[in-house]
């Protein structure tokens, strides 16, 4: 089997945009704030790539809206929030993820049963 870190990266690559949209559901956030929210939900990107290019793509695709505002005592930051298209994309993405997860769980469960025999 391939190395576990490589597999984790591949798996995350397909759903990190969904995770970002999900944490934006908690309210507008700037880049590092989203990283911290992800970490708070148990998803660390250390060892993975940065979220900035992904945020750039979400913005270009119209899935997020941005505005600049002062952060807590710091310089003005670019805040990202869900656009109406982003909310729809999140709903669709969550459904797709659950369907995929269930299918993979089923396949892995079958594999486990075969290994157990």
């Amino acid at each position: 089997m391939g190395n576990p870190e490589g597999r984790r990266s591949q798996l995350l690559r397909g759903v990190l945009d969904l995770c970002l949209l999900a944490v934006m559901g908690d309210g507008p956030a700037y880049g590092y704030e989203m990283t911290k929210r992800l970490r708070g939900r148990g998803l660390s990107i250390v060892g993975e790539g940065s979220i900035y290019p992904l945020l750039g793509r979400l913005e270009r695709d119209g899935l997020v809206e941005t505005h600049r505002a002062a952060s807590n005592g710091g310089p003005p930051r670019k805040y990202y929030s869900l656009s109406p298209e982003g909310k729809r994309a999140l709903e669709t993405g969550v459904s797709e993820w659950r369907a995929t997860r269930d299918a993979v769980d089923g396949a892995l469960g079958l594999a486990n049963a075969e290994v157990a025999q």
């Binding site: 990190l16 700037y30 590092y32 993975e48 940065s50 750039g56 270009r60």
Partner: protein
């Protein structure tokens, strides 16, 4: 402004990112890095493994935002890659040739001869004399003279190939990036 952000700015300038956009991205990045540092974190907390490759990170971000005026191609590699391949081929031929020369030198003792009393070869430990119908022949083994040159070429070839391999696998090299990424960076870096 950190060296990482400066390196990003240079890459954005190279890619033709408009100054206002580059300034905005640099400001956001600086603010996030400073906040992480103030909290006792590292650049990796903000950037993941992109913290080790500012050019690639900057390029990926600009491409994802659609603010580049030219393709995100690592321009030096356009000439560097063919040169590297040619150099590798040359070094490989050099190494194999030198190795073969050494092998042949070890296995057969070739020598040049001259009729007595001609002494065209310098006297030395490899000087030999052979009896013959026209008189004794004297000669000097030339295989021994080939060995040092072949050995030097072999060493040069091996070291050269080794350096190329190190360059190829180093994270700051554009060789592998171009081969695997087709010159473009991924959307999530």
């Amino acid at each position: 402004m950190s060296e990482f952000v400066e390196e990003c700015r240079r890459e954005w300038r190279r890619l033709g990112v408009p100054d206002p956009v580059a300034n905005e991205m640099a400001a956001d990045l600086s603010a996030d890095l400073e906040e992480a540092e103030a909290e006792g974190g590292s650049p990796e907390d903000v950037l993941g493994n992109s913290a080790f490759d500012p050019r690639r990170f900057a390029s990926a971000w600009a491409v994802a935002r659609g603010v580049t005026s030219q393709p995100a191609v690592d321009r030096p590699s356009l000439w560097r890659r063919p040169v590297a391949v040619a150099l590798a081929a040359f070094l490989a031929v050099l190494t194999v040739g030198a190795g073969l020369a050494l092998l042949v030198g070890f296995r057969s003792h070739s020598f040049a001869v001259a009729a007595h009393p001609m002494r065209v070869f310098a006297p030395g430990p490899n000087r030999i004399a052979l009896p013959g119908s026209l008189g004794p022949f004297e000669g000097t083994q030339i295989a021994g003279a080939v060995h040092p040159v072949a050995l030097v070429l072999l060493i040069v070839g091996v070291i050269g190939l080794g350096l190329l391999a190190v360059l190829y696998w180093s994270p700051w090299s554009g060789f592998r990036r171009d081969r695997h990424g087709g010159g473009r960076t991924r959307s999530w870096n």
